[in-house]
């Protein structure tokens, strides 16, 4: 991937004069989504167009007659952001060829519900067809906009309103699926995970994703104080702990080649990450130790899998 303009430090990120997400939106205090969106909009040059699946980001930034978006922004429905992005990309391609119109950068945002669950088919279709866009999944690990219901991205053991920590079933019993593995299976050129605690890594991954001719997928862990029952002041700290505990490995897959961007040699205990979040509190009780062990196994086995992939 040549000719990609990467940055070295956080000081290289353009300043406030380049903000394209205006303040005054209604996302929660400490929300991990808006800070990421601002970084993405700074990393991708103009002209650009954003497509947004139904979800927190859409609802909180565009309450008619107000909008926080200083660039063209499109919301169609919940499950079809990738298909809508496909149409916009295809149309600009045709208009460019036939009428000499300028080709914009196309960015698609979807939450974990809109990506892992209801929108997975639409995303898979778009990846297979090879549309030139960046698909960014902001994953807060449940349906937060509708009130914290479990999704395919909810980690094992987490309590949500549809996987409550009950006496018989203490939280979500199933493992989180891997979006990046699904994306990579399409043979796309670039896919990566990202975290707010590593903004330079995030910024550069967006730049790489933008440089790819074809689809690229970014999977971003969006800390959600409301849904995770965490302190809004600790959002960045929790995001960092997710990486340091190996709960959220930062890695990228470029043309099938795996690379762990932040290699965690000696991981912090997972409990350090869990104890800051109300959704995991029950896991620290002795009677639920078996479930905590299962979660730990998930984390360990996926890390080992990643390490083995980097050696391929």
């Amino acid at each position: 991937m040549n000719n990609v303009k990467l940055i070295k430090t956080i000081r290289d990120i353009p300043g406030d004069q380049y903000e394209q997400l205006a303040p005054g939106h209604r996302l929660c205090a400490g929300c991990g989504v808006s800070a990421m969106v601002r970084l993405v909009l700074k990393a991708v040059p103009d002209p650009k167009v954003v497509i947004n699946a139904t979800g927190c980001l859409e609802v909180a930034t565009t309450i008619y007659p107000y909008s926080s978006w200083k660039i063209p922004w499109v919301h169609n429905a919940f499950e079809n952001a990738a298909a809508t992005g496909s149409g916009i990309e295809a149309a600009f391609k045709a208009l460019h060829r036939k009428f000499g119109k300028k080709m914009p950068h196309v960015i698609v945002f979807g939450g974990d519900g809109g990506t892992f669950d209801i929108g997975l088919q639409s995303l898979s279709g778009a990846l297979e067809r090879g549309h030139d866009f960046i698909y960014i999944c902001y994953d807060n690990e449940a349906y937060m906009n509708t009130g914290i219901q479990r999704s395919g991205a909810t980690p094992r053991g987490a309590a949500t309103t549809t996987s409550p920590a009950g006496k018989v079933i203490p939280g979500k019993m199933e493992r989180k699926k891997s979006l990046i593995e699904i994306a990579v299976a399409h043979g796309i050129e670039y896919a990566a995970t990202a975290s707010l605690a590593y903004p330079v890594d995030l910024f550069n991954k967006i730049r790489k994703a933008d440089a790819v001719k074809g689809p690229a997928v970014i999977h971003y862990l969006a800390v959600c104080p409301t849904g995770w029952r965490s302190d809004p002041a600790l959002t960045v700290e929790i995001a960092r702990l997710a990486v340091l505990t190996r709960m959220w490995p930062l890695y990228e897959v470029e043309n099938g080649k795996y690379k762990i961007n932040v290699f965690i040699k000696n991981p912090r205990p997972i409990e350090d990450y869990l104890k800051l979040q109300g959704r995991f509190r029950h896991l620290l009780k002795p009677e639920n130790k078996w479930l905590l062990e299962k979660l730990k196994q998930d984390v360990e086995s996926f890390w080992n899998y990643l390490v083995s992939k980097t050696k391929e």
Partner: protein, 412 residues
């Protein structure tokens, strides 16, 4: 009364005018040819019987370089409509096609497309809804779409399929209309029937349609960024819906202008409603789509026997041509409304309800009989059609109607 241009006359015109060309196509191919000649920019579609030939032909046109467009081979109908919604926002000319289950899968996005006032043309090869799964004609899909804020056109011949597809582009791209349109063609009866038809030269179609882009009134513009599809709650939603309802009402006038313009250019007359022998009619039968021709054939033979019968078919179904229906039916004794749609517990089939609501405000109303026919491709024989006319004449004579709804051609 509707004027028919005799094929012979057109053939003669063809000798003096290169623009008029007569060829053989089936309904699906006629759609595809019209779409190609319209020089669309983006096509997104998913194959479903009986619409498949449309997407096959369009793929050929694109892959052979006969049409410069992006063909997006989506993984579902939901994505097909979602893709053309995105594409239309850029100001491109867009097209999709589907049938039955595909329309059902698109349903959510139908409402978004019309609410965004997007110039989208969709061909709908009418097919029955499952279950049981059936690939043949009913108007289930067309009726499912009727409240979604789209213009709906019904064709009764392959010629009309071609003509209405072109007119649909003229309508949706008219800045006074700016609403999406569905062109209905009866599955298999029109989609797969080979017929001879008159088609334009490519250049003639180019002259008929807008050449500029963007076609959308408020396209994605990087100098004037806009937010499309925001959240609108109780403080604005109702005004937005009122505007949409008014837009649909206002569209009627401009749709009629498109019909008129196209009639002049093509020599084939188009209007919202086609009437046949209604002036002195005692009874009138109304239908949508390919049934209309059959009705006229039977009516013609009944007229020869001195029976005062007439026929109406609706080319334009939404917005509903109330004024013409009122004017045409006000002095009729008995009106038979034919619905190709099963009535599950409603006061009548959808067309029956439309006609009833339109006529209700008359002081002296015709008697109304609802006929359910042709579901899932069930044939309606000439004898059965004749019986419908005879039944209506009997009701007219006796002034008594025992049942207001009958199912024709069904085993009891």
């Amino acid at each position: 009364m509707r004027m028919y241009v005799q094929p012979k006359l057109l053939l003669w015109l063809g000798r003096v005018n290169d623009m008029v060309k007569r060829i053989g196509l089936n309904g699906d191919e006629a759609v595809a040819l019209a779409v190609k000649q319209a020089n669309v920019d983006v096509i997104a579609a998913y194959p479903i019987t009986p619409q498949t030939i449309i997407v096959e032909r369009l793929s050929e046109y694109v892959n052979n370089g006969e049409l410069d467009a992006e063909f997006v081979p989506v993984e579902s109908e939901h994505s097909a409509l979602s893709t053309v919604v995105g594409a239309a926002l850029t100001g491109a000319r867009v097209f999709t096609a589907t049938a039955s289950q595909g329309l059902a899968l698109m349903y959510e996005i139908l409402w978004i497309a019309s609410s965004l006032r997007l110039p989208i043309v969709m061909a709908l090869a009418n097919r029955a809804f499952s279950a049981p799964i059936n690939i043949h004609c009913s108007h289930d899909d067309a009726m499912a779409a009727r409240d979604a804020g789209w213009i709906e056109l019904f064709s009764e011949s392959v010629q009309e399929v071609y003509d209405l597809t072109l007119q649909a582009f003229m309508m949706v791209e008219d800045e006074n209309i700016m609403l999406p349109a569905i062109v209905n063609l009866d599955g298999f009866i029109l989609s797969h029937s080979l017929a001879d038809l008159y088609v334009f030269d490519d250049q003639e179609v180019t002259n008929l349609l807008r050449k500029d882009r963007p076609l959308y009134k408020l396209p994605i513009d990087f100098k004037k960024p806009a937010t499309y599809g925001p959240l609108g709650l109780y403080d604005y939603y109702m005004e937005i819906k009122k505007q949409q309802a008014v837009a649909m009402r206002n569209a009627y006038k401009y749709i009629k202008e498109v019909f008129q313009k196209y009639s002049e250019v093509s020599g084939r007359e188009y209007s919202p409603v086609k009437t046949y022998e209604v002036e002195d009619a005692e009874i009138v039968v109304i239908a949508l789509g390919s049934m209309a021709g059959n009705l006229r054939t039977i009516a013609k033979s009944l007229r020869k026997r001195g029976k005062k019968v007439g026929v109406i078919s609706l080319t334009l179904y939404r917005p509903f041509p109330e004024d013409i229906i009122l004017k045409t039916l006000k002095d009729i004794n008995v009106v038979v409304v034919m619905d190709r749609f099963p009535n599950f517990g409603a006061p009548g089939g959808p067309l029956f309800e439309d006609i009833s609501a339109t006529l209700y405000h008359l002081k002296k109303r015709p008697m109304l009989l609802n006929v359910i026919y042709g579901l899932g491709g069930r044939e309606t024989s000439p004898k059965e059609i004749e019986n419908i006319f005879e039944r209506a004449l009997k009701i007219s004579k006796e002034g008594v109607m025992e049942e207001k709804e009958i199912w024709v051609g069904v085993r009891e």
